[in-house]
Symmetry: C2
Subunit: 462 residues, 2 copies
Amino acid sequence: MTAPQDALTRADNNLDNSLERLFALLRIPSISTQPAHAGDCRAAAEWLQKELTDLGFTAAIRETPGLPIVTGHSKAPAGKPHVLFYGHYDVQPVDPLSLWTADPFEPRLVESPSGTKEITARGAADDKGQVMTFLEACRALRDAEGQLPVGVTIVIEGEEESGGANLLPFLKANAEELKADLALICDTGMLDPDTPAITTMLRGMVGEEVTLTGAACDLHSGMFGNAARNPIQVLCDIISDLRDGATGRVTLAGFYEGVPEIPEATRELWRKIGPTDEQGLGSVGLRWPAGEQGYTALEQTWCRPTCEINGISGGYEQDGFKTVLPAKATAKISFRLVGDQDPEKIRAAFREHVRARLPKDCKVEFKAHGGSRASVVPADMPGLKPALQALSDEWGTTATVIGCGGSIPVVGEVKQALGIDSLLIGFGLDDDRIHSPNEKYNLTSFHKGIRSWVRVLTALAR
Amino acid sequence: MTAPQDALTRADNNLDNSLERLFALLRIPSISTQPAHAGDCRAAAEWLQKELTDLGFTAAIRETPGLPIVTGHSKAPAGKPHVLFYGHYDVQPVDPLSLWTADPFEPRLVESPSGTKEITARGAADDKGQVMTFLEACRALRDAEGQLPVGVTIVIEGEEESGGANLLPFLKANAEELKADLALICDTGMLDPDTPAITTMLRGMVGEEVTLTGAACDLHSGMFGNAARNPIQVLCDIISDLRDGATGRVTLAGFYEGVPEIPEATRELWRKIGPTDEQGLGSVGLRWPAGEQGYTALEQTWCRPTCEINGISGGYEQDGFKTVLPAKATAKISFRLVGDQDPEKIRAAFREHVRARLPKDCKVEFKAHGGSRASVVPADMPGLKPALQALSDEWGTTATVIGCGGSIPVVGEVKQALGIDSLLIGFGLDDDRIHSPNEKYNLTSFHKGIRSWVRVLTALAR
C-alpha cells in the first residue's frame, strides 16, 4: 500500500479550515487547576464531542468525580488493528499574564523574527494543537477513503495538568470498551525542527506542597525578630538541604534507588544526534547545566531524576517593604523520576526530610499533587518500526527514538488498566514555551503533524 | 506644682469625644507603602492639620518629594522649656485581608474574651492611637488651664512605614524652626499592661530586596528540570547561608562588629522585671527562642542584631500545582542592628554574600529599603527622671527604662538634624498585633496614655 496521496492532498488543501477549528478550541480557557474555569473545561469537552461526532465517531461525554472525559469510537475495517488515541483538552494557568504579548485565549498566527509561522495561544502546543493534528488526519483519511484504515478509540481527558486523578479509575472501569492493540499519545516533541521522533523514555513525577506555620499571626519583625521562629527561614533551610551543593545530587534518603546508569553507547549516540548544552540551554538564554554534575543537559533531563522548586510564597510580596515576620510559608516542590524509582517511597522520604528539620514551634502540613512512575517503551513494541518509517517518509529525515524529561502518567496508566504499550508521537519543539507565557506551536508542526498521522495510521493498518 | 487635677478630670469626662476623634483618623486608609493610597495619606495629613488648628496650634501641611509632613507650633510660657513631639499618620498594609475579623479601616471598640476593651483597626496602636493620646492631652491641658505648660512643636510624618526618606532632609532644612530642648516620641510600648516604660534602646535597620533571574522565561520543569538553573533553589541556598544553623548567628562578614555584650547586671535586672520566654513568646503562640543561642527572647529582641526574611516569592503560588521552573525569584530581607553596627557596611556585606553565591547563568538585582543605626538614650538626659516619675504617678507602678527590638530612625535623625535627644514614651503592648491582622490598642492605653501625657508635660515644665 503506497502513501495515501489523496488524504495528504486534502490535508494540504484544507489547512486553513483545520486551523480555524484549532483556533475555536484554543479560545476556550480550559484551565483545569483553577476551579473558576470548571465551566470552560466542560465547554471544551462539549466542543470536542461535537467535533468527534462530526467526524463520524460515536462520541460521548463521560462524567468523573472531577472534569469530564470525552470518548469516541470508530470500528476497525475487517482484519485491521485497533488503536487507542489519548490527548488532553485542559491547559496550564496563564500567570504571569503581564508577560504575554497577547491574550492567551485569542489565538493568532504570527511570523517570528526568524520567519517561522507560529500559532500562539495557551494550549497551542500542550496539548490542543497536538490533539487536533490527529483529529484533522482522521478527517482527511475519512474524506479521502470513506473510512479510517484502522479502528480508532479516542480518549481526551481534562485533568492532565492538575493531577489527572480520575483517568486511571475511568480506564479500569471501562477496560472492555477501551481495549485496543496499542495506544497512540500525542503530547511530546521532535528531536529538533527537522527530525521527527518517538519518545520511548519518560520521567515520572511526585508533586508535593508543603506549608510551615510558626506564630499564631504575622508579627512585627522588629518586636519579635530573632526570638520568634521565621517559617520562611526554616523553609529555605529545608529546601537548601534537598540538594548537595557540590554534586547537585538530591539528598533524600534512598532517592537514587532504582536509578539506572545510562549505557555508554547511548551517551555516545546522544552526543552525536542530540543538541549540545549550548544549543539545548541556549534556546532559553542559559548556557551551563545546573543540576547533577557529570551529565550533559540532555542526559540530565532525559535520564536523571531531579527535585525542582515550582513555587514559593511567604510574608510580604507586594511593592515596597513591610517588616513582617510571617506566620506561614509555602512551597510547591516536584520530583522527576526515572527507572524504577517509587513515587510513594520518595514522597515519604521527602516528608521525613522536612519533619527531621522542623524546629520546635513550627508545624507542617503536606498536600500531595500526583505521583507517577517513569516509563520506557520496549524496543520491539508492535507498531514502533512502521511508525518510525512513516515519520521518516513525511519529514524526509530518519526518525529517532528519544527521551523526555516530562512526565506523562497516562503511559503507565494505560499499561496498568488496558495492558497495552503506547507510541508517543508528537510534534512539539523545545522552544514552544509550554507552561510559560506566549506558548506557541509552529504551523509546520501542525501541518506536517496532520500529514504524519495520515501516514502513521495508514502504516499501522499494514 | 501638684498634679493638674482639672486637666485629668477633663481627660476622663471627654474620653468618648476623644475616641470619636481617633476613630475619624483611623477610618482614613493611609498606607504609605502602596502608591494607590497616596490620596488617603494626604487626607490624613489634612485631617491632622485641621485638628491641630482646632487645638490652637499654628498648623501647616509641608510638602516633600514624597508624602506631606504636618507641623504645629505652640509658644512656650515665659521661662518654660520647649518640646518637639513626633508621630506618624501612615500605617502598614493590611494584607492578608482574609485574616481580619472586621474591616481594618472601620474602627470598633470591642471587648476581648478576657474582658479587655480594645480599639481594633489598622493604625490603632501604630501610630494613630498613640499620636492621639498626645493631642488629646494637649486638649485637656488647654481647656483646663488656657495654655500648654511647655512650648510644643509637632511634627507628624507620613512615610514612617515606607522608609521615611524625606524626614531627615525636612528636619535639616527647618532646623531653626523646629529647635527644642528635647523630643518626645510616642511610637513605643510599656513593659507590660501595668508597668509604664521609657524606651532607651532601639535597634537600627537595613532593608534589602533581592531578585534573582535565571532563564529568559518560565520553563517546564519536566523539559528543563535539573539542567536549567532554578532561581528559587539558588535564593533558598543564599538565605539558608545567612544564618549558622547551630548557633543562630548571622554569617555576614563583620556582622557583629560594634555589637556590645549585654552587661551581666542588666541581664540580671531583666530576668527579674522582664517577661520570661514563655510569657513573651507565649503571647503569639510560641515558646522557644529561635535565634541566637545563649540569649533570652528579651535579650535577643532588645540587644542582639538579627536577619529576618520578611517576604519571599517565586514561581506558581496559587491553588493547585504547576510544574514550572521559574525565571525569577525575589526576597525581602531586613537586618536589625544594635550598638555601633554600620547600616551601609552591612548592606554591602549582604550584597557580597549574595554575589559570592551566585551561580553561572544567574543574575541579581538589589533594591535598598532604608537604613538606620541603633540608638541609645543617655541615662542623664534632661526630662528622663521627671517623665519616669510622672508615669509612675499615673500608673501606680514604678516606670522603668526598656529596650525595643524595633527601629525608630527618627531618634537618630532628630539627634543629627536638631542636636537633641528623644524621650520614647508609648503605651503599646506586645499583643497589639501591629503590622498584623486585627491590630488593636487597649482602651486603657488610650485613656491612661492621655492622662500620662498631661502629667509628663506638666512635669517637664518644672
